[in-house]
Amino acid sequence: MYDRKGISSILGTLVFIAILFSAVMPMFLMMRQADVYYEQAKLDASRLDEEKELEDLQIYVAPSSEDYTLTVVNNGEVPVTIIRVWENAKNNSVSTTILSQEETELDPIVFSHEPTENETFEISLTTERGNTFLNENGIMTYGDGQWMLEKFYIYIHAGGLFMRVLVTNEFDNITYFDEWDTIGVGYQVEVPSDGTYHVVIEKKFLIWTTTVYDDFVTIDWPPDTSVDVYPK
């Protein structure tokens, strides 16, 4: 008996610790698991939001009397899946994935009804991540058997130091774009109608100015809603 004194205290402590561990440890483990689940969900949600922010599409519409074709350019850093095309309040389900920096033309979509005189159409599309992009050509209006668009574009594929880009109307010299840039990389010039435009691109070095492009370009609508300029 003398040798065994204190054993009961040790045993009691061990039993107490055993009870503590077997009862409380599962709780701590479960809580830890819940915390991990929460952090993971938060991370997934923020990743989805970031990817949504990175989506950048440009849509160009080419309508005919019965249907319209959409050209979609993915300028963003993430692949984009298009799930719906809206024609005013009517929607068409589609499923097309466009990789980053790629361009695709969707299959022609038949108008939900025959366009009537002066009827307007707003074409937009929705991506899987919840972004909605309106087409770059604005609202389309049908009249006199043809389509009128709000916006047309001249794409100038030029870059360099000390550049000037000037776009004017062929006839009345209205200036639509006139910009000097220290560093210029590619330009999208919006013009209000189809027709012919005068494009001038100059580069400046100290006091010397060199004209690298000086020509007329034509937006031939329909079907083109834009024209590309490639200076030599």
């Binding site: 009870i19 503590l20 599962p26 709780m27 479960m30 689940y37 929460y38 938060k42 949600a45 309040a89």
Partner: protein, 159 residues
């Protein structure tokens, strides 16, 4: 055979039985310790389980709140049917339950508890026939709130 009966050998019996009560005492003590220990363990385990389950439920609820994703994709007023149609896209991974409120000239109209599954487009129609036909450029404000208290707002102008 007469004479004095021999005295019972009590001392002998006591000596013989003297180890019994410590054993019984130990058994009783052990039983009590086990019973009390079991009760303490059972209470602790139950309390810990309840706390853990509550914590997990709260966490799941919080997760559902932060992962809800939806937007008001399109709004359209049809003057012939006098309906305002609101398309809500649930692009999140869980179903949402949406309460939609539109406001026209300080008058509110509601559509409550509309369920939209994950990756589905919900079409919510609200009758505004109590209003006169809405003129072009009439402002309609739309608010969609889920049961997790996430909200989206949109302003629509009648065309």
């Amino acid at each position: 055979m007469g004479g004095i009966e021999p005295e019972p050998r009590r001392g002998f019996n006591l000596i013989k039985r003297k180890a019994l009560s410590p054993v019984i005492a130990s058994v009783i003590l052990s039983g009590m310790v086990l019973a009390i220990g079991g009760m303490v363990w059972s209470y602790s385990y139950g309390a810990a389980s309840t706390m853990a389950n509550d914590y997990a439920d709260e966490t799941i609820d919080m997760v559902h709140t932060i992962i809800e994703r939806f937007n008001i994709e399109k709004v359209y007023y049809n003057s012939s049917t006098e309906l305002v149609t609101i398309w809500v896209y649930n692009y999140g991974s869980i179903e949402i339950t949406a309460d939609t409120t539109i406001k026209i000239n300080e008058t509110s109209y509601n559509e409550l508890e509309y369920h939209i599954s994950s990756k589905e487009l919900g079409k919510i129609e609200i009758d505004v026939s109590d209003e006169p036909i809405l003129p072009t450029n009439q402002e309609i404000t739309i608010r969609v709130t889920t049961e997790k208290s996430n909200s989206e707002y949109e302003t629509y102008y009648v065309r």
